[in-house]
Subunit: 228 residues, 4 copies
């Protein structure tokens, strides 16, 4: 069993990851890193693991990537809010190790991105809009995922956001024309979906060459010939 180190072990997804690892038949828990972890322990855990999964903050991510590249450990990261200069650094380290960064580890959302690109090509004269709805504690609006979805289409996107109750996450994309409307929408039922998706990516990334990857790369390989 491959040992997984969790960067951001005390966060919402870090906690779910640890729980999933305890029940996993493919992976074992190789150690958890939080803001309380000493530099020595941080290094030891990285050195001791086969792969890192990181849902933390940008500073911790950068440090994890440095150590991971030094010890040849692949890294999956879902940390958001990384400045572009920091992101460049991370890309540089991907010359030495495979790194997969993604803002939303739901397979459904990644599939939606692929579908949107196709719809955009066919329904080129339709108007496009995205609604994102999330729990009231979410501070950023639009969501990173709404922006990611809007990037997939050629049309100008209208994006609007609702923050209410404890909605885990809805994204509703509409192509609307003069006589018909085609909608693709996604609903999170259980927040475990992100932790599960990150582990699926980890299984895949561990066999990749050094380089920078997104979850779309994983998904497109999984889809493979089945689409033709």
């Amino acid at each position: 069993m491959k040992k997984v180190g969790i960067v951001g072990i005390t966060g919402q997804i870090g906690t779910l990851l640890e729980k999933l690892l305890r029940d996993s038949v493919d992976f074992s828990f190789g150690g958890g890193i939080s803001s309380e972890t000493s530099p020595t322990n941080f290094r030891d855990i990285v050195q001791n693991c086969d792969i890192l999964v990181d849902f933390s903050r940008p500073a911790a991510t950068i440090h994890a990537v440095e150590l991971a590249s030094r010890y040849g450990v692949p890294l999956v990261s879902g940390t958001t809010g990384i400045a572009s200069s920091d992101f460049e650094k991370i890309c540089n380290y991907s010359r030495y190790i495979p790194i997969l960064h993604c803002a939303n580890f739901s397979e459904g959302i990644q599939l939606m991105a692929i579908l949107l690109r196709k719809c955009s090509a066919v329904l080129s004269d339709f108007d496009f809009s995205v609604v994102d709805r999330h729990h009231r504690r979410k501070k950023d609006a639009p969501s990173g995922t709404a922006l990611f979805l809007a990037e997939q289409v050629e049309q100008k996107a209208q994006i609007v956001s609702l923050r209410s109750g404890d909605v885990p996450g809805d994204h509703i994309c509409d192509f609307c024309g003069d006589a018909e409307m085609l909608s693709i929408s996604h609903r999170i039922l259980n927040r475990e979906v992100f932790a599960k998706g990150a582990l699926k990516c980890a299984s895949w990334l561990i066999n990749q060459k050094p380089g920078m990857y997104s979850m779309l790369n994983y998904l497109e390989e999984k889809i493979g010939d089945r689409w033709r």
Copy 2:
């Protein structure tokens, strides 16, 4: 049969009204007024009708109200964008004739307003939001109806608007809490609904005393005891 005069006969709803009147068993067409109508003809038509239905522009509405009050003709108006000073004038004329003004003559929308007030009282700690979706030619956002719906609730309302394709008009209202979400939504299937609703109001208004009315007054009377 009561004779209906249409102010704004060349507009989208004016045209539908004329068509409906031709098929009506309760009403006959008493004349149409457009920006081309001469002052003399305008006056003659008002004098000749039992009720006016107005979907025009504020200046025409004011003029129609003046004439209607002079000749004792009730008036139903769906004209939007009336300045508050002009609206005050209209209210003054309602000492002489019954006037019903409403921004949306759909019975479903008016019923929705009543339901929202009730939900707001019960779900007082839920977050409230309105999405309005209309065709891409609609210039104002949020829609007047979205604002009207938001006024019904005690909560702070999040209102967002989409303008796309040729959607006749959707309004989606959500009450969202920690563990459940209650939504009330409305979809226009056919724009005739507004013209039909205005004629229903006309049937009712013709029997009212002078005063200022909204479609809610009509609907509440129609509902009457059935809610207890």
Copy 3:
């Protein structure tokens, strides 16, 4: 603090109830009854509690009601699948204690029932339909809640059911006419809503006279004057 006894402590909602009671400031945990509980322990727990909350099976519910009536303990029950002859028995016991039975303890669903009655009166010539969507393990279709909602309207109801994935519970009710559609829909975000609703009912029931109650009675009293 009032002591609550849980009948069906090992079930899904029983487990949630126990967790909620541990955190409650109004109630304390007075004991749990499962199919393993001996008759003597069953009796002792009932005798020792201020109120019972029951999410179990019909046989256990009947037995709990007998004991509760003997010791004057009010009872809230969400047990489903009770035969009508058994339900009559339960009603008989309600001469001695207040009993509240309800198939769905979500406030949103109960409010929806009230709204549907009102819509049905106004939109009497609209077609009415209910869609219920639940997780794939749910065996009964339509859901008890879909049937309950359909009972609120005067129209003939079309009811359809979907069983898929791990959806906690969606109910979508549509009134559809020739030119507009009004929809009221409800989504469970977190199954805790049922346990929380049952405890709200318990708080209320403890102050009622003997008799048979539903959650609508509680809600209507809560709403009270706020609707006028």
Copy 4:
């Protein structure tokens, strides 16, 4: 301008087709065939046209195909309810002329079919369902389109139908898993979409070799390289 003959000129879509042809810059109206048309006139119209568009009844369709094959006229047909033995006959005639048959000429619906196939491959362990909602006069349930959509996926499909009000046509397809749900849905805003889609197919079919085609063939060629 190519001359289009309309088989089923008095039907709902036939009427729309004639209206569209009067405004078209690519096509002119070459004649209309109804149940009143004499055999001689039927033959003359077919002989006189560059292409036939047929929204009629199976018997008329068969007769139109016979004549079309005799005079080398391509034929687009949206007639439904054709028995399989009759459909075989039609296929035989497609050795002589290009024939395109399709139960739903909306581009959005055809695109949806393509998307469903792709989703089905990726979300193979998700449950799949289709809801179709149509006006109350529609007699068949599920709709032909709902069946067509269900055919695209590998999963067992749950299909449910609602018949209410004057809904032009909604189709809602859900892939539902343990932790997320992906939905693709389509709404007809204006029934003209079918007539417009049939004319798009006619433009394309006129340049094809003899053979049997569906609207998917047209759409896939239109999409072409844009999906890679």
